[in-house]
């Protein structure tokens, strides 16, 4: 089912066009890697605030609201360039264990964010200015750091297809 989809995409003229272009693929790849600084860099700063490792004198909501637009800009660039990379060579990714590990970790990182924002962040008014956020917020921050580190490591390893 999924394999059919990947095969169909691989056969699309647009996919072939990027695959055969000398410059497009490297450019998209570079955009994907460098927007890491904007997206993950600022997500990491927010996570570090949650684990009380930076900006302890700033309210959590201030850090969250001020960094959020930049994180979302970075996410948009990462998502578009990432989808394009898979779009270009779907079958290479389909058979790559690190790709699926990365996708799994991304889903888990996303779930962690949802749990945080619908959970302890709903009561942020009670702990906004605390230098050390409550345990569940610190766990969310720590989990985010670990999961996204895994995303980066697996992402890098996609280039090395050791296991097929």
């Amino acid at each position: 089912m999924l394999l059919r989809l990947f095969e169909a995409v691989q056969a699309m003229p647009a996919s072939l066009a990027i695959r055969e272009s000398r410059y497009l693929y490297p450019v998209i790849e570079s955009v994907h890697v460098l927007s890491l600084c904007l997206f993950l860099g600022l997500v990491t700063m927010m996570d570090l605030r949650l684990v009380s490792a930076t900006m302890r004198s700033a309210p959590v909501t201030e850090v969250q609201q001020r960094l959020f637009p930049w994180q979302m800009l970075g996410l948009a660039v990462m998502a578009v360039s990432g989808v394009l990379l898979v779009f270009t060579e779907p079958l290479r990714f389909y058979g790559n264990i690190f790709f699926w590990m990365k996708m799994t970790l991304l889903v888990l990182a996303g779930l962690n964010m949802v749990v945080f924002h619908t959970g302890v962040y709903q009561r942020v008014a009670d702990w906004d200015a605390h230098p050390v956020p409550p345990t569940s917020a610190r766990i969310a921050g720590g989990l985010s750091l670990v999961l996204f580190a895994g995303v980066v490591i697996c992402g890098r390893l996609i280039a090395y297809n050791w296991y097929k």
């Binding site: 490297p26 790849e29 570079s30 890697v33 460098l34 890491l36 600084c37 904007l38 993950l40 860099g41 600022l42 997500v43 990491t44 700063m45 570090l48 930076t54 900006m55 302890r56 004198s57 700033a58 309210p59 201030e62 850090v63 001020r66 960094l67 930049w70 996204f148 580190a149 980066v152 490591i153 992402g155 890098r156 390893l157 280039a159 090395y160 050791w162």
Partner: protein
């Protein structure tokens, strides 16, 4: 003095050879380089955004700069160490690669600018920094570090 013999000697040091001969060492060091890149990107942008008046404006520039500093320095050290290891394993290839030298030029400029100029401007006075000056410094910082990143990525394309 000729540089190439030195480069060739570096490539044949124990570390260079070990990384080249191992299947997984190079990719793992690369992954560490990337993780530190994300952290350094975040700690540079946190301060630059604040200097542009766009970031965590509740805190003074100097405070944001002090808060980001340990992460900036820590990630910078990891980037340099992992970068040197990656270089050792393919020193001759880097030597012949124009993107590598462009990256080194941006890296030196970015490092000097960040630690000699930007940190000084951001930490100066303790009160507020002249906003126009802060903006100029932040733009230069973003441009220099983007140059390092783009040229670094381009090393793989030569």
């Amino acid at each position: 003095m000729e540089l190439l013999p030195v480069i060739e000697w570096l490539e044949h040091t124990g570390a260079g050879t070990a990384i080249r001969d191992s299947t997984w060492l190079f990719p793992c060091i690369e992954a560490g380089h990337l993780l530190a890149l994300a952290l350094m990107g975040g700690s540079v942008l946190l301060v630059d955004l604040r200097m542009l008046g766009l970031g965590v404006t509740r805190l003074p520039v100097a405070q944001v700069c002090r808060d980001a500093r340990p992460w900036l320095i820590g990630s910078f050290v990891v980037l340099v160490v992992t970068g040197v290891l990656l270089f050792l394993s393919e020193a001759t290839k880097c030597y012949l690669n124009p993107a590598f030298w462009i990256k080194m030029a941006f890296l030196i400029a970015g490092t000097v600018f960040t630690f000699a100029v930007r940190q000084r401007v951001a930490l100066a006075g303790g009160a507020e920094v002249d906003p126009a000056m802060a903006r100029r410094v932040a733009v230069i910082s973003v441009v220099l570090w983007s140059g390092v990143g783009i040229a670094g990525r381009a090393i793989a394309f030569y």
